[in-house]
């Protein structure tokens, strides 16, 4: 099987890799590039734990082929903080205890970042529907929604 050579941009860095045609972007991130922040909870696009942003679109990286990343701009959880400065969403997730086990957290943070970039003042309902593609089994979502609300307020003020 012939490998596909891919040249892409991940978190602002130019990255090149060789992957198999059937390898998902999630597999490439985790197994080839060591970016294990995106998690595989299902591999079928039902849990959102592998969420990344590709060319400003929120996607499940388990439903994208590694080969498709050619020439794209990819954002993962590893690029969310700026240096030692956490993103307001990261900070608010900590402050509100919006995570228990934390396996879904990277996916939620990426999805919430995408949500707030497109809708800086979401209602509770918009947050809930906007994050419906991310499953959390620990929190009952209450503290996640509050953290996103709080982060939205902080980001508007910033």
């Amino acid at each position: 099987m012939a490998g596909v050579a891919v040249s892409t941009t991940i978190n602002g860095d130019h990255v090149e890799y060789l992957c198999q045609p059937d390898e998902t972007l999630l597999d490439v991130l985790r197994d080839r590039l060591g970016l294990t922040g995106a998690k595989e909870g299902c591999g079928t696009g039902d849990c959102g734990a592998c969420s990344v942003i590709v060319d400003n679109r929120l996607v499940c990286s388990c439903l994208v082929l590694g080969a498709e990343a050619e020439g794209r701009q990819i954002e993962t959880i590893e690029g969310m903080a700026h240096g030692d400065q956490l993103h307001p969403l990261q900070q608010k997730f900590l402050e509100h205890a919006a995570l228990q086990c934390g396996i879904c957290t990277p996916g939620f943070l990426i999805a919430a970042k995408d949500l707030l970039e497109k809708n800086p003042s979401p209602t509770e309902e918009e947050i809930r529907f906007g994050l419906a593609g991310n499953l959390c089994r620990c929190t009952g979502y209450d503290k996640i929604v509050r953290a996103v609300q709080d982060a939205a307020n902080v980001m508007k003020g910033a």
Binding site: A38, E40, I77, F93, Q100, G102, R137, C138, K143, I144
Partner: protein
């Protein structure tokens, strides 16, 4: 152990505050390492071949073609995991569940496994393994499995607990009975009797992280296992026993765990990964797919329960009786027994009797799921309690208050209660503004109570004080949702220093003595006790060192608010010595300062909760939405209230999912129809309202700070609370969980047709 665990009624400066968790930044930046995030040099990919049949004899497995495939480094079957269990029936079941020996007992049962250089090769190798099955009739339904003509799952199982020893084998592995008094007499005194039958479907813990491990076995018998687990010490015991390894040579490191809820208390794939690594001579990483997680790990019991409760006109319950049938999967279990113990635990009953039947079926081996067995029993009992209140014409909260267990009540499972929280949770609910909020058309409010035991158990903790005066705390109970924060608070409290000076970690099995699992709501309860004990031992050393520095007797040194203080008139000129100052001198006063503790944390107080729930039902479709939810639960003492709230909310959410939509659906062929998050429908963010919480603190007399376990009880009341709310909204009593739209619509149609 000369540690006094009794509640002291002290005041707190750290405990009860809400600082950020020590593992938080790693988790919001993607750096935290979970089961599948770890790799070893030369690692192979392991994959498991699973039975497509619910029940079949494995006549022959031919692995020769798979072994010849380039890149395949090991293929194993049950032969590679010989029986070393030495008559331990429970461990044998675990072994057989990890790798089927003579029969495949459920759809998804492991029959062989491969280790190969990559996932693709491993996948191809699985297809080359030829398994010759003789398919047998199967049974998945709990009531059908109890019938005499049902396919027999294990002909060596004869029902235990019957008065006469049975002569024929059965799918019922055990009958158990609890209670006291005379229920016949009790029912004779009743003015009203409600008798109902209920069913609940099987659910899965639904942790988002699939089981994952990396195993490395060396030719010299040493081995390493990296794994997501609720109890790495228990995994070590089990894996060592099943593989014939020496316990101290198997080092198990618990990764961050992406949810467990009881599902990661049992070994599944870990012995398989170790066996593959042993055979291949290389490390093996084995990660389950989501499909495998549903088909072969986890689930709780499906149940069938009959309840009968009688009461006098004045609202006094005179007798209560229940028969509970719980599936165990294809192996003997004790799930119905726990249901039988918990069913009526909330009430003060003179005459009570519960009977449990453990039922074998061709489904995955039942595992614990958050307060295992209690939610189903509570669903049946609390539904019947509401019906009875309605018949008597008494408010359901008042009815429960009148009959609630209290200190001195004989529990339906035997012992007499100490101070307990069922009454206070009910009183709190009665006064809660939620109970008086208006409701619109097709909306209804329900409430229900729940009980769980909580456990303690073996615990070991190390507390080391660095030369800069910061403290590292090593615990052996896996942190499933914030316990490192709670335990750091406890260490800070006991030492009298700031929370920020303490950093807690979960140590591996070679660094610390044995710890029981994080199950039974024991993590914070027992490790906080061990942490207090370790801190007190460290304080003893700190006092000795201060005495050296002052050159006075240690008897003249006290520990107050993080400082050594010299006592007595003759030491009036000595200022306080801070922990930091003592630590800085430790190299010159006798070396490192540490406190160690090993203890059995027993006396975990039982826990009660009462929930209130509002639903809205669409009478045309049967669709039900939870529109408001309130949890009131006793925590004993909330060490980190935010994470206590989180446990309350999470348990409620899982209960809501169970009540409304989650269920294992088997086809006629015995195959699981919905092994994925698409059709196994756990609640999504837009399904739920905010979940309000109220923490009550009725101190546990058997913990220095009064702590009780808080993790599990919150999943117990929701099933009944929602059923009661649906009944109050649209007038139908739902007796089958989940109350999915087709079931509710069918009930509404039946009601309309009279």
């Amino acid at each position: 152990m000369n540690f006094d665990p009794r509640y002291s009624g002290r005041s707190f400066s750290s405990v009860g505050t809400r600082p950020l968790r020590p593992d938080g930044v790693d988790k919001v930046t993607g750096r935290a390492r979970y089961g599948a995030d770890f790799n070893m040099a030369g690692q192979l990919v392991g994959r498991v071949l699973r039975s497509p049949h619910a029940h079949a004899i494995i006549k022959k497995i031919d692995t020769s073609k798979a072994e010849k495939l380039a890149g395949v480094k090991a293929v194993i079957t049950a032969k590679d995991l010989p029986d070393l269990t030495d008559g331990d029936a429970g461990m044998f079941d675990t072994l057989d569940n990890c790798m089927a020996r003579k029969k495949a007992l459920y759809d998804g049962h492991a029959v062989a496994a491969v280790a190969a250089i990559d996932a693709r090769t491993a996948r191809q190798a699985l297809k080359l393994i030829e398994v010759d099955y003789e398919v047998l009739p199967h049974v998945t339904d709990v009531d059908e499995a109890m019938q005499h003509h049902a396919p027999l799952i294990n002909d060596a199982i004869f029902t235990e607990g019957l008065e006469e020893k049975p002569v024929k084998p059965s799918n019922v592995s055990k009958r158990t009975q609890y209670g006291h008094g005379d229920v016949h007499q009790g029912f004779a005194q009743a003015d009203f009797v409600v008798e109902r039958s209920f069913k609940t479907e099987q659910t899965h813990q639904g942790y988002i992280e699939p089981h994952a491990c990396v195993a490395s076995v060396n030719p010299d018998g040493t081995a390493d296992l990296w794994v997501c687990t609720q109890g790495h010490f228990v995994y070590r015991q089990h894996c060592a026993q099943l593989l014939g390894l020496e316990v101290s040579k198997l080092r198990v490191t618990s990764s961050e765990i992406g949810g467990g809820f009881g599902g990661k208390t049992h070994v599944w794939a870990e012995p398989v990964a170790l066996a593959l690594s042993r055979k291949a001579g290389r490390p093996v990483k084995l990660v389950m797919t989501r499909d495998e997680v549903f088909r072969a790990s986890g689930p709780t019991s499906a149940t069938s329960i009959d309840v009968k409760i009688g009461a006098r006109k004045d609202g006094t319950i005179t007798a209560a009786e229940a028969t509970l049938r719980y599936t165990c999967g294809p192996y003997a279990g004790m799930w119905a027994e726990i249901g039988a113990m918990t069913a009526f635990a909330c009430y003060k009953l003179e005459n009570v009797k519960t009977v449990g039947y453990e039922v074998l079926v061709n489904r995955p081996k039942t595992a614990a799921y958050r307060a295992p067995s209690a939610p189903m029993a509570a669903f049946a009992v609390e539904s019947a309690v509401d019906e009875l209140a309605k018949e008597i014409g008494i408010d359901p909260v008042e009815f429960r208050i009148k009959n609630a267990a209290q200190e001195g009540t004989r529990a339906s499972y035997g012992p007499v209660y100490g101070p307990i929280g069922i009454g206070p949770t009910l009183e709190a609910v009665k006064e809660h503004p939620h109970m008086r909020a208006p409701l619109a058309q097709n909306q209804g409010r329900g409430m229900a109570c729940g009980f769980w035991f909580n456990f303690g158990g073996q615990t070991c903790t190390d507390l080391n004080i660095g030369m800069d005066g910061t403290v590292s705390l090593a615990v052996g109970t896996v942190d499933v949702g914030g316990s490192r924060a709670s335990l750091s608070l406890v260490a800070a409290e006991e030492l009298g220093i700031d929370y920020s000076q303490v950093k807690a970690i979960v140590a591996d099995t070679s660094s610390l003595g044995y710890n029981d699992m994080t199950d039974g709501s024991r993590g914070t309860f027992s490790s906080s006790m061990a942490t207090i004990s370790a801190a007190r031992n460290a304080i003893k050393v700190l006092r000795e060192r201060a005495a050296q520095m002052w050159d006075i007797s240690v008897d003249d040194v006290a520990w107050e608010k993080g400082h050594a203080v010299a006592k007595g008139e003759k030491h009036g000129n000595l200022g306080k010595l801070s922990l930091k100052e003592i630590a800085a001198q430790s190299g010159k006063t006798g070396g490192p300062i540490a406190g160690h503790s090993e203890l059995v944390a027993d006396g975990a107080g039982v826990s009660f909760a009462t929930h209130i729930c509002d639903v809205e039902v669409d009478p045309e479709t049967g669709s039900t939405r939870v529109i408001r939810y309130t949890v009131v639960q006793d925590a004993g003492k909330a060490v980190h209230p935010t994470y206590v709230e989180g446990q309350y909310q999470g348990g409620a959410a899982q209960g809501i999912g169970w009540a409304l939509n989650e269920e294992y659906i088997y086809g006629k062929d015995g195959r699981l129809q919905n092994p994925g998050f698409l059709d196994y429908r756990i609640p999504v963010c837009s399904d739920l309202p905010m979940i309000d919480t109220q923490i009550l603190e009725i101190p546990n007399p058997n913990h220095p700070y009064g702590v009780r376990g808080v993790g599990e009880t919150s999943i117990v009341p929701p099933l009944a609370a929602i059923a009661n709310a649906v009944s109050n909204a649209v007038g139908v009593r739902m007796s089958h969980i989940p109350m999915s739209p087709p079931r509710i619509l069918a009930a509404l149609e039946a009601e309309r047709e009279g």
